[in-house]
Every structure is written in structure tokens, then in C-alpha cells.
Symmetry: C2
Subunit: 335 residues, 2 copies
Amino acid sequence: MSMIETPYLLFLGDAPDQLAAKVAIGIKDWRPENAVGQFRMEGCGADLGLTDMSLVEGRKAGAKTLVIGVANRGGVISQEWKKVLVMALEEGYDLASGLHNLLRDEPDLVAVAEACGRTLHDVRVPEVDYPIANGVKRKGKRCLAVGTDCSVGKMYTALCMDAEMRARGMKSTFRATGQTGILVTGDGVPLDAVVADFMAGSVEWLTPDNDEDHWDHIEGQGSLFHVSYSGVTMALIHGGQPDALVLAHEPTRDHMRGLPGYSLPSLTALRDTALPLAKVANPNCEVIGISVNTQHMGEDEAKAYLAELEAEMNLPATDPFRFGAGKLVDALAAL
Amino acid sequence: MSMIETPYLLFLGDAPDQLAAKVAIGIKDWRPENAVGQFRMEGCGADLGLTDMSLVEGRKAGAKTLVIGVANRGGVISQEWKKVLVMALEEGYDLASGLHNLLRDEPDLVAVAEACGRTLHDVRVPEVDYPIANGVKRKGKRCLAVGTDCSVGKMYTALCMDAEMRARGMKSTFRATGQTGILVTGDGVPLDAVVADFMAGSVEWLTPDNDEDHWDHIEGQGSLFHVSYSGVTMALIHGGQPDALVLAHEPTRDHMRGLPGYSLPSLTALRDTALPLAKVANPNCEVIGISVNTQHMGEDEAKAYLAELEAEMNLPATDPFRFGAGKLVDALAAL
């Protein structure tokens, strides 16, 4: 993945509602300095509260890339979108997208981009020849969230911890391994699209030597207990050489995401499975805390649940998005 | 991977020695019925003891595919090889190869194959759109060897067990997941070249529903303790849903292959790591025995080591290639 040039103008297109603009919301929440404004088409039902700008106004405000921050309907890039995207290239924007429907598969966009000397970024497609992992110990510190299931808040955990560390003046970098994370930060590794032999190597590549007091917050993927994606999680644990693991959990699920009949492991089982595997690559690794996605719980219920977990597991527990990542960062600082 | 048509004529080219013909030897050892003869060029230092045949003689003997059973020098397909390969296509052979230098990247071979209506099989390249794993329990039984390290004899273990079962009249299939295995059997999944998200799904695809008393012997890859490839191993454990695990080990290594500084895990650690992970996909999974690669030990030493292991681990232990796979198959039959 070549670096995506910032700042962005966020393309919301004709998004029917706020939910469809999830990627744009992620960028605005986590890297507001990367978003100079929003571009909305007629009938757009999403609004990030950013300044509405035309393509020309966006360029004047400094935007270098038009980021498609919205899901497309029916899996195709519509003619209405195309008009805007072609104009954007002609105005001097690069385009960046995490859509399944790749920009590079649209001959008209490719031709215009070439003619204008602009770049099309499809963040689902690896563009680097990653090495095979060599397991050599790297300088600096790394933190990885591992989940009882997929989609339990591992990316938000990493982003929250990174934001908290930077707010405290600590050295910290969020390392994206998925489409949204890559668009939020402008670079990363689209790990689920990397060829098997190079998965762990791509994670090593993503988290190179750094200052001894610098923390990489590596975006987690999948779960050791999710049979569809556990290999990807394994590569993060061994390629990432984490010094610290955070256990991530969503307590209201009754089965693994997309796998009816598979129940979620306990946090104890997750700890006892992930930590010995992590110690293969980094014998000093420790489990430092628990991150709970409490979005489906009332505030009192969430707080009671977290207090109970802390007593049971003898680890700090928080919902970093709702109650802050302070406890988790304290635990890292104490290592 | 589309099925490679058998039987084969084995191309040994100008192999400097027997070692360079490793793939051809594997085919001759494990599927002698697939090899009608060998084709050797001037100066060839390898000899499988098969009938030397010209391309025309091979076709008359029924050969459908010329398999490149030898490593090429310097990573390129030489002009001398090309002459033979082009003639083979013209004689009506398909070509199959596990070389890094792909057949399909040679414009002359592609053009001739097209003109003659023949197929070029590069077994390093997946040709199937594998699904994402769904974890649904499949009928029939599956056995997987997991290793303390890479290259400790997992493929030979599976091939030996498969051969022993078939000799006993039991229902059994070897399922190839690597280049050599695919060339030996004519099909399989080149797992190390599959995109991360589809690894476990490709293993499900490879080992579909079958008779309740049928065993798939899935070729293992990597090791849970090898940081470069552990994700691939994980996908085999979860995609394969094994009913039985065999622990594979090579006792004379002093560090993990290609990873100086990483020591091998004990067989106990391997058992205690692999079995709980396997039970996620198949709660009935059991560790049924130990396969030791004793090629660097004298016969008495090997036998003493195996006896010691059996007492220590309370599991049958053998070198299936040297002493037969009977003990391991007995253990499967007793499940």
C-alpha cells in the first residue's frame, strides 16, 4: 500500500443514511485533522457535521485525496459517482477507496487518472512485496488486541489507546491492518488480502524497529477462536511480537459472528490460548488488560460488568470508547 | 488447481544429481502407477530406475502430462529445457510444474500450448476461488499431522498412513496442500499461495463430506511454533476439522528451521497447544500418536528413542517411513 496523501475531502456520495458513511465517520472521529470537509451529492442522507465543499473548494482548503467514505449500492460504482470521481481527478485529487468494486477495474477512471497523473488507491489490494517473517526481535514496543470473536472492537481499542498515549505525550503509532484503518491513517497492510506465506512478514514490515519507548498499536483481526479467520490472527501474534496483549470482548453475543453453533470462548480461555502463543515470538509478552465493547448495555450495567471482570480476572477492564483508555495505557506505562 | 491428467512422463532434464529430482522421486515412491517412465536429457545425473522414454514413446505408453520433476538451475527455464517442453506440447502432453519460474510466464510456452490446445499447470498458483470457511461439520474423518517445526515429515506421515490404510482395504485419501504433494497426486490446494481470508475455506473445500468411514489424510504445513508460517498451520487445524492429530517431530534439530534463536517446543507443549485449538472446530478431536523423522539416527538409537517417547507420552510412536505406519493406523482404527 503506497501512502495515501492527506488531508482528505470525504466523499459521502448519495449515502442513504449515516450508517452507510461508516468509513468517513471513522476518519472524522480518529483523524479529524485529515478531513478538510465533506462532499455530498443530491439526496445524501449522511452528514458528518463538516463543512460542505465543492471539489474546487476542497482543493483550495488543501485536500489532496478524495476518499470514498461510503458504501456503494449494489456493489457497483454508479454513473452519478463516476461523474464526480472523474472531475475530482481532473481537479488534481488522488482517489482512495476500500470498496470491493476496485477503482482500478474501471477503465474510464484508470484512463483519466493516467492522463491527469493522479493515483487510484484501492486499499483492499496489497501493493508491496512483503517478506517472509524472520522472527528477529525488533526494537520498540508493540501492543495487540486479541478478541473472543471478530468485530468486538479491536480496531477501536487500538485507536483509543493510541489517542490516549499521544494525549499524554507518549510515543505511539496506530498500525492499520484493515481497510477502514488504512483509510483513517493513510497507510497500513490489508492483511486479509495478503498471500498466506507472507502474512506474518507483512506484520513485521508494518511494525519495524522504533524508539525503545515507542508503542505500536497494531490493529487486530479475526480471533484465534474464529475458524474462518484464525490464521490471520495467528500471523498478527507471531509477526507482531507483541509486548502487551489486550483481551477484547463483546458480552452480548450468543454465537461467533457468522458461525451459528460456535459459542464464544471465555476471557480466561482466550488469555490461556493467546499468551503462550505470543510468548513463542516474545517471551516477555504480558496480558495487560481487557477491552469490552459495551454498546449494547446500559451505563450502569456496563460499569457493573467491568467491575466484576476486574475482580474475576485481576486485570484492568474498560470500554475504551465509552469510558476512556486510561486504565489500559496506565497498564502499558507500568510494564 | 484444476486436476492434472495422469499418468505422467517424468522430466528429469539435466538434473546434476538425484537430490535435484526430489519431486520426481516423490511421485515414483508414492504413486508409481502415475509414472510410465522417465525423460532424461544429455548429462542427466539422476536416475529413478524407470524406463527411459522419448516423448513419442511416453505418449504411446499412455502418458498425458509431462511433469517437471526436477529443480531448475539459476531459477530460469533454460533454452535446452524449452526445446523439450515445446516438443512435448506438440506431441499432445500437458505440462505440470512446481517451479518458482512459472510456465505461464513464458510467452513461447503459452503460445504453443494455446495453438496445441494443451494446458500448463503451475501448481504454485491457486486457480480456484475458494470460499470463506463456514465451520459447518462435515461427514467422514480427517487426520492432520502437526509439527514441532517445518519440514519434519508431515507430508510423508500423511502419505504413509494413507498407503497403509489403502493396503488394509480401508477408505483413505491423501489431500495435498503443497507443491510436491499436488504433483504426486494430481490435485490439491497450494495453501501457502492462498490469500489470507480464504485459507481455512480452501482446506474445507479440499476435504469435503465423505463416507463416515473414510479418512482424509491432510498434508500439514508449517508449525504453530514457527513464527513465519504459523497462520497457515492454524488454518489447517480449523479448516480441516481434524478428528485425529499426529504429532510430528525431528529430534536432532537445535533450532527452528530458518529461525536461529528459536528453539523447538517439546512434544508435550505441541500437544497442549494444538489439541485445544483443534477442539474449537471439532470437540471430538484426539491426539492419536507421534511420527518421528529418524533419518539422522542409527536404527538402534531410533528404536530406543521411540520406545522412550511412547512411555513418556503414553502414545504410539513410530517413524512411518522407516518402520511403517501400522501403529498410527491402528490408533485411527481404534477411535
